[in-house]
Amino acid sequence: MSEFIFATAQYESGDWDSAPLVPANVIDSVARYTSIPVAPVGINVSLSSDDALRYPLLYLTGHLPVRFTQAERQVLARFLGRGGMLFVDDHNHDIDGAFHKTATEELARVAGPLVKLPRTHGLYRAFFVFPDGPPNTSHELNGWGDNLIHPDLLAAMHGDRISVLYSNKDYSSEWGYHPDNKRFFSVDNTRFAVNIVVYALTS
């Protein structure tokens, strides 16, 4: 039985590796809270390569404009059609920013329109319960980025399943620290990452 491997998607444009500490932190949380067999290190995989199809949950982030190549669009379309799930986080936390504008455009071309995910969706109860929807980040609360709190996540659906989960909340900054530092938090702020992983594995 294969382990869950946290995979970060590389794409040609932009800065795909802007949150290098996130994978380790998410992996730590999955191992800490669940019995899901998880690989101790993540992997980076090119979105233009068929290798991306080996990792049914992909994490994509960045600050810069996102323009997929034709190969990236084709692989992503196959990935989503076969049952994969892409989690995209706007590292700018800025709905007027280059990442948000270009990424949502590109994703809509491949996966269809992104719509608000209801706060009652199963994602928010997949493991931990978030009755108010997606947890806010310190970046939102401190007024950084677009100085807005984004109460909802966006999603492209494939049937009744989320195929693309899109966040403007900047979880890439929120979760971008060494896992050992979780001990300084009264509430672990990576718990929502566990929900995303459990949802991807069970839905």
């Binding site: 039985m1 294969s2 869950f4 809270y33 669940t34 019995s35 899901i36 067999p37 068929d50 199809l53 080996r54 049914p56 990935f79 059609g81 076969r82 049952g83 994969g84 997949a126 493991f127 459990v198 594995l201 069970t202 839905s203």
Partner: protein
Amino acid sequence: MPSRRDAGVPVRERALRGAALAALVVMAARILLAPVSVTEVMRASTTDLHPALVRATYRTVPAIELDAARTLTPMERDWLRALSRAETTVRWRPSRSLATLAVQAERSVEPGGGLAITMLAPRAMPIVVGDDDGIIDSLRTGDGALSIAATVTGALHVRTDDVAADVPRRDSLPIRSVVIIGQATWETKFIAAALEESGWPVVVSMRVAPGVVVGPGATIPLDTTHVSAVVVLDSVATRAADVARYVRSGGGAILAMGAVLSPAIASLAGVSPAQRLRGELGALTSSDPVNGLAATTFTIRDSRSSVLDRRGSAPIVVARRSGAGRVLALGVEDTWRWRMAGASGSVEAHRRWWSRTVASVAYAPLTIATEDGGLDAAPTAAMYAALGAPASFVTSPSALPKIVVDWLLVAVILIGLMGEWASRRLRGAR
């Protein structure tokens, strides 16, 4: 001195008289020498069988000899069998080589699965498969056996040039849930997806953390009124006792490697793991994608087990009966890779493979054909069973029928005698 004309007359008259006399002798010989039984044998062929059967029914005939150019219909077979039990000897022989055709149709235990049809016929025989609505497909047998799956309306009809087999309509099978028990992994998720997409009602029980299970599969009663099959994927088989009881009562179980390794449930599988093999590099996108998956070979501990698939010579999929149910030990691992990273069409292929794998063990209540009369799944075999093996005929085949020969002889006698009388009158003799 008599003229040449007068001299030839007596010779001609003697010849005509002799011909008439010879014909009379032949007729007498035919009457006196021919055995009584032979003269009373009725010869028939499949082209005129029905009137012959009617005649034989209303007029006692000691024997019927049938030249069969085709297999008989069930009615014809039954009629001949009835005559044979009423003291009419029935002999038959094929007038041409009759194909041996047998058809088996089983309702596939899959949602909307139609029939799994197996046909046995001589090598490379053209076969037409149809149902009450018309022709479904035209095929040619390979090595003598052919299996297809088809959705059939009413009865199934299979034809070769001279043999027709018909299988009665079958009741549809009730499809119940498939319970998937395993850890929250890609394998569990994509097996559930494949089965759901195939139309199976799927109930999952995915273990996420100690005491945390996703899905209602942990509580559904495991019995044949609720569940068609159970797929157990991990070694922490929380419901091992339930699964064992369910299988004994007729249910089907698929035990993946994790379950085969579990002491609580391994005894059901009748195998023990032998060697773990890596998938063949690049095979996932080839025509044999299962070879691209990692697999564990088995050592078989139950001699009644059947090996369904091998890697090299080592078994990787093994089936056996356990109580009234069926168990399949699956050595192939991480089939989700086939779906996600396989060639074009791999999603459908993965879905079909899992649906058929589950169907091969799923609980299927006994069904009875709803209309059996007049249908015939193995007509050649049924003909042998009803009439016995082909036999030599007592009457020898003649170029002309007996009645024609008799009339020819009468004509020869009449012409001979009339000619001889006319010849005498023309020359003035009395």
